[in-house]
């Protein structure tokens, strides 16, 4: 990371030149239609908008998939088949730690994107690294939870409730793990390729992905763990 960074103000000037209309940052219908935003009749949107938009649509579909697993949990919550109930398996202190780690990682993820916007490689890498570390903490804690449960004989094969519990929480964990791998790839790309257009586009998508996982986790934390602990 030896290249000399531009001062922030100069950076801002460059950004204005690259993205003069602050595409995607305007409310609909505030002014005249924005050229390049793909609104109305002004012609196709810029690549940056297309990528972000398409990825949003993908995230929506991913959330629909999660909703099926949520639905399965809602249906099977009391189908314990004589085994442990949900109240007997949740461990709120650990989950509170997990939640804190994940929410904090979303914050650092956002800071990394602020660094991207300032075109600052060093800070981008630092914040991405912290994000990944927090994600790792989350995944390890979840793994620990699963292993402890398994050692008590509490596995998905035991009952319908446990099936849907492990299915839902595990699916989210899998997403975080894949997200972590993606994050490592992005760190390498920033390191090697710098802030090329397509790298920045990928970073936009990664950010959206990571925040979406947070939102899903809040659902899991509330519906599975908090509401479950009272059961």
């Amino acid at each position: 990371m030896t290249n000399i960074e531009l001062p922030a103000s100069q950076e801002a000037i460059r950004r204005v030149r690259e993205d003069p209309h602050r595409l995607g940052h305007r409310a609909h219908g505030a002014d005249e239609p924005v050229e390049g935003a793909g609104h109305g009749a002004t012609g196709p949107a810029s690549k940056r908008i297309l990528v972000g938009y398409g990825f949003w649509i993908f995230l929506l579909s991913d959330i629909v998939m999660f909703s099926c697993f949520f639905a399965a949990f809602a249906v099977q919550r009391d189908a314990t088949a004589g085994g442990p109930t949900i109240g007997e398996i949740v461990d709120i202190p650990r989950v509170a730690f997990e939640t804190a780690a994940l929410l904090l990682s979303s914050y650092t993820c956002m800071l990394s994107f602020a660094a991207v916007n300032a075109r600052n490689r060093l800070w981008t890498e630092i914040f991405l690294f912290i994000t990944g570390l927090l994600g790792l903490v989350f995944v390890l804690l979840e793994l620990q939870e699963f292993i402890e449960l398994a050692m008590r004989g509490i596995t998905p094969q035991r009952s319908g409730m446990l099936t849907s519990f492990f299915g839902l929480v595990g699916l989210h964990g899998l997403h975080v793990t894949l997200g972590g791998m993606w994050l490592a790839t992005m760190m390498a790309q920033v390191l090697i390729k710098g802030f090329r257009r397509e790298v920045v586009h990928r970073l936009i998508c990664f950010n959206l992905f990571w925040h979406a996982l947070d939102i899903v986790w809040i659902g899991i934390f509330t519906i599975v763990y908090l509401m479950g602990s009272g059961a």
Partner: protein, 607 residues
């Protein structure tokens, strides 16, 4: 390396699959040898396999769809003949084989026949009609296609290695659980549908982004051709419900592979949950198919009536209405499974309400023809055949949507007749209408008229002779999926139905003949204007076939029916628009990512 796979997976003792596989393998080898001898590989690799051009991908989708329609039709012939000969007799297909056939037939026709064709049309047409140069994500587009193709390949491999599922095209548990279906059949189904489902989702995302964010200048929402609206609605449904399919199949896979209890009938599993989830996908899926079909007809009626579409805005509204309401009717597929009177009533009413949106469209098409200068060319014949056929199918649908009536007709041949009535009469007729209509645009020459009309009449008559008897059989109490029949009263209608299949076979032959004759006479049938039917939307403003960049200069649209407007203005002013300024443009490069993603070595799917 092969896991548990060994020679016993090849059906050496069953002559029918064995001979079929031998013929298919020989044909495939023949094609490969031909390509090699003629030295076509570089051309295929460069211009098709790695192409990210939406038009090429659209054509490949359609080719896949047509091949699979033929494969599914072969299954259909076997089922109809089996039922005709197995009256108080065993017939020629043993039960376990018969069950595989009806499962494969449904899966292939819907997911690998109709879906690729519909996606192919969307791919080819949407960018052209919107006046842009490609879809939003060209490389992903290629990935989506090749995933679908590899799913289709997997289904067909099951014909000669192992077996296919025997569970019906929606594998209801507990039958589809390992306890009751231990073989590899359901696994084939799960992997094939899962892989192609991901491909479909990718295409859906692509089309939504393209329509919402990539229209040429001036192409506001209310100037888009109706086909683009229906492609948008259909793709929105894809984005909304294909993840449901993915989740459902993933759960079934977990049950089968890891002993989970999502849908088992022991240890708190819940088979009804599968039925709910799968129809939450399955019902919208039929509208994913039929909405673009409506779009195709909405292009054809105005063109061949020489009039703008009647009620454009109500057409758009009806499309979106159907798109939303189709998400709220899934329970009509299992009124009999104990939901109770209140729930059944809600879903009965919501199902019937869908017919309102469809009715609006039917009237609009009829009023488009009214007072127009109607030309009865082949695409128009298919469209008019559609109106008649689809109305009957819609009416029987409304009948089925009345819960007390459905208790009598559920899972009977009446139901089978209903959905063939809407899917063949709606989707398949649209596909043939569309193929006839856009063929000159895609390949640069028209299809032969006479053979096209012959094919239409054979298919239309054949359809009714095949499926009308099924309504009667259903009312006489015949249930679906019977491998043999021990009740003579049904025999005459089964014979009529198999005769209908004979007519349909002639229809397919006529269709193939049309293609061969047209290719032979392509010089005579050449479309030099790019606008063979006096079209109204932007795809007709390009030469046939369109160049890979579609438009040298991006059009600037000034009203509804963009191309019609340009033509009118030229006639009024007696001159063409001024020569535009040409500028260098940017186009995506070819990419082998798609084919590698789909076919890179992955672990064996059989357990």
């Amino acid at each position: 390396m092969f896991g548990k796979l060994d020679l016993s997976a090849i059906p050496l003792s069953q002559p029918i699959p064995l001979i079929t596989s031998a013929v298919v393998i020989l044909l495939a080898l023949g094609v490969l040898v031909l390509i090699t001898v003629k030295g076509w590989w570089p051309y295929l690799w460069r211009d098709w396999i790695t192409s990210v051009d939406h038009k090429r991908i659209g054509v490949m989708y359609c080719l896949l769809g047509v091949l699979m329609l033929i494969r599914g039709f072969a299954d259909a012939i076997m089922m109809r003949t089996q039922q005709a000969v197995a009256i108080n007799a065993p017939g020629y297909l043993p039960p376990e084989h018969y069950n595989q056939i009806f499962t494969a037939h449904g899966t292939i026709m819907i997911l690998f026949g109709a879906m690729p064709l519909v996606l192919g049309f969307m791919n080819f047409l949407v960018p052209l009609q919107l006046g842009v140069r490609d879809v939003a994500f060209p490389t992903f587009n290629s990935v989506g296609f090749w995933l679908t193709a590899s799913g289709a390949l997997l289904v067909n491999v099951s014909l000669f290695i192992g077996e296919f599922a025997r569970t019906g095209w929606l594998p209801y548990p507990p039958l589809s659980e390992t306890a009751y279906t231990p073989g590899v059949g359901v696994d084939y189904y799960l992997w094939a549908v899962q892989i192609s489902g991901v491909g479909t989702l990718i295409t859906g995302i692509n089309i939504v982004t393209t329509v919402l964010k990539m229209r040429c200048r001036g192409m506001g929402y209310l100037r888009m051709p109706v086909f683009c609206w229906t492609a948008l609605a259909s793709s929105l449904l894809i984005v909304a419900v294909f993840p449901v399919l993915t989740a459902t199949l993933a759960m079934l896979t977990l049950d089968r592979y890891l002993g989970f209890h999502y849908f088992t009938n022991t240890a708190g599993g819940n088979p009804m949950m599968f039925v709910n989830l799968v129809w939450a996908w399955g019902h919208p899926e039929v509208y994913i198919l039929v909405l673009p079909a409506f779009g195709i007809f909405s292009e054809i009626f105005p063109t061949f009536s020489g009039k703008p579409l009647f009620g454009y805005r109500s057409m758009v509204a009806a499309t979106l209405f159907i798109c939303v309401v189709s998400l709220m009717v899934w329970l009509h597929h299992f009124f009999t499974m104990g939901a109770g009177a209140a729930v059944n009533t809600f879903f009965g009413i919501s199902s019937s309400i869908i017919a309102v949106g469809t009715g609006v469209k039917i009237y609009n098409w009829i009023f488009t023809m009214y007072g127009g200068r109607v030309r009865f060319e082949t695409p128009m014949l298919w469209s008019m055949g559609f109106i008649f056929t689809f109305i009957i199918g819609g009416l029987t649908g409304v009948l089925l949507a009345v819960p007390p009536a459905d208790f009598l007709t559920h899972n009977s041949m009446f139901l089978v007749a209903h959905f063939h009535n809407v899917i063949v009469g709606g989707v398949v007729f649209a596909i043939f209408a569309g193929l006839e209509f856009w063929f000159p645009k895609v390949f640069g020459f028209r299809l032969h008229e006479g053979w096209g009309k012959t094919a239409f009449w054979l298919a239309f008559i054949g359809f009714w002779v095949t499926f009308a008897p099924l309504y009667i059989l259903g009312l006489q109490g015949m249930t679906r999926r019977l491998q043999h029949i021990n009740f003579d009263v049904w025999a005459p209608w089964l014979y009529v139905s198999v005769a209908g299949v004979g007519i349909l076979v002639l229809g397919v032959i006529a269709q193939v003949t049309q293609l061969v004759v047209s290719i032979r006479n392509r010089e005579k049938l050449r479309d030099v204007t790019g606008d063979p039917w006096d079209g109204r939307s932007l795809e007709w403003a390009t030469p046939s076939p369109p160049p890979f960049f579609n438009f040298a200069v991006m059009p600037n649209v000034e009203g509804e029916e963009a191309y019609w407007g340009i033509k009118l203005r030229a006639v009024e002013t007696q001159q063409l628009s001024p020569e535009p300024a040409y500028e260098p443009i940017e186009m995506p490069l070819n990419s082998p990512v798609g084919i590698y993603t789909a076919f890179s070595p992955r672990s064996s799917v059989s357990r």
